[in-house]
Amino acid sequence: MKTIEEINQKIKDGNAVVVTAAEMTRIVRETGAKEAAKEVDVVTTGTFGAMCSSGAFLNFGHSDPPIKMAHTYINGVEAYSGLAAVDAYLGATQPHRDPKIGIKYGGAHLLEDLVRGKEVELVAEAYGTDCYPLQNIHTHFKLEDLNQAIMINPRNSYQNYAAATNSSEETLYTYLGTLLPKMGNVTYSSAGELSPLLNDPYFKTMGLGTRIFLCGAQGYILGEGTQHNTEVERENGVPVGSAGTLMLKGDLKKMDPEYLRGATMPEYGPTLYVGAGVPIPILNEEIAQHTGISDQDIGCRIMDYGVPRRSRPAILETNYHQLRSGSVEIDGTKIQTSPMSSYRKALQVAEELKNWIEKGEFFLTRPVELIPSHGQTVKPLQIKRPSILVKDLKTKAIITATAQDNLSDVARLMVDNNINHLPVIDKEGKLMGIVTSWDIAQAVAKEVQELTHIMTKKVIVAMEDEPVEVIARRIDKYEISGVPIVDRDNLVKGMITAEDLSRLVCSRDDKRGESL
């Protein structure tokens, strides 16, 4: 048994034994946890990943005449200023106010520019008061000009996270990167055996006041992060999915752009790559044992992001050793993997923190309150007015054509029923294609006779158990006016059109009016 005070004395004397979490894995494997606990004083962890829930409080100082900023834009990125007169919170994922720039330059890029010492533009608007008469301000500043720039990240360093793949027919752009169709790739994001919370899986050493490495400066843990979850499934003592999180604080003015980078997840949004490292004091054998965890022992589930719902199906259970090898095998097919978080940078963080401690520049702290280790769950947000599913919609009776039908019959069918879309089915009632009134017009113009020649064969469809919001987005994304509804066996169940959706929105609004 050691105490934090004893370890700090060793750091002061220059004889503390500090190793990275990757080195500790080897030491525990070779000598066992008991010996390792005697030998090692501190294990340094590290992670460098995209952490959307990040940002900074900025205080600009008062102008003359003074202003109470209501809307604040820095380099075109809005910082929330519903605080005192010249305070604002700049969030990493806030896109640029100009839609043409949008997600290409957001809060995260601005945070990096500030840390790099670049001059940025400040535009603020206000309603004006007796004590703050100024209504507009346009000026420039640098990070050094601010009174404070305090990074507060509500949720960083996820203990573990799911890996992602995509079984659908289309490329998906997600916070876990680009997911190719038909399970074309797998992405994951964890530093694995180097990751802070995987090395202290029951939060025995970390809590409010733990001094840490944050983006190249000394920072602190403020406590558990948002969505902190302790009631999770574990294997080898560590969670197999997302679990614990940390809320972190640091001084933006002291940070190093080497460990903080603005980025954009394609078609998703801006995000901040944050380098964070937590030192773990090896107070006893149990803590040593925990820090000995290896990538092989850390499980990870590959989830299907092709299903756009909160609960996604798991495709495969694997571990970080396998994921880091560059590929996994799903149903006999080798699929390439992408880490998304930088293992090289994570190692660099752990090495740098080790270096600070060895040089006596960084001392450990005893947390005032440990991170909660039980009783915390993540509640979902209930939509009080639940999603309407496709099958709940009152759609018109199913009208379909078969491949053998001649064109004039098909045209008459559409006119008689006042419809513009007609699914084409085979003998079993399965979907083969779709024709629209525009296709018919084209066929007449080009003197084509065969229905199969003019129908669209690659049909965008709606499944019966999908929420209508998902269908609305799909119709918008593909710039189409309707989709056939099919079941799991590809049997046509009906048709849903943009008109049906707009009618639905109107009827919902009517109902809301009545209840008031």
């Binding site: 995209a50 074309g184 980078r261 997840m265 394609p266 390439q336 992408s338 880490p339 998304m340 930088s342």
Partner: protein, 128 residues
């Protein structure tokens, strides 16, 4: 050698590539092509006994040829070695080395652009 072939609108209808294959002893690999009636370009790799004669033929037919030393270039200051690009490369030209650094193999690269459009820090660009 690897090269971009630039087709002007006047020659997009000519069967230059098939004539090249018929008349010269070359082995010819099309790695990337985007040609419309308004012209376009094709990334190729050409080798064989008569590669130079073949190239001369292409030039004579009005196909402008730009040899490629590099298909893509990576800005190592911008790259954080996150590896987002690794699984997107259809020809496994992107690997991660023993020090967990992302490396591009320009010999294998076919210039498809998946990595350039998906790089979170915009560190990879197609070389001209």
């Amino acid at each position: 050698m690897k090269a971009w072939l630039n087709f002007s609108p006047e020659i997009v209808n000519k069967a230059v590539i098939s004539n090249l294959m018929k008349n010269f002893d070359v082995s010819f690999n099309i790695m990337n092509a985007n040609i419309t009636p308004k012209g376009g370009k094709m990334l190729i790799e050409i080798s064989g006994e008569e590669a130079q004669e073949g190239i001369n033929y292409l030039e004579n037919q009005g196909v402008h040829l730009t040899p490629v030393k590099r298909v893509v270039k990576k800005d190592n200051d911008k790259c954080v070695d996150c590896g987002a690009c690794l699984s997107l490369c259809p020809v496994e030209a992107i690997t991660i080395d023993e020090e967990w650094k992302v490396e591009l193999d320009d010999q294998k690269c076919i210039g498809c652009g998946f990595c350039t459009s998906s790089c979170p820090t915009k560190a990879i660009k197609l070389a001209d």
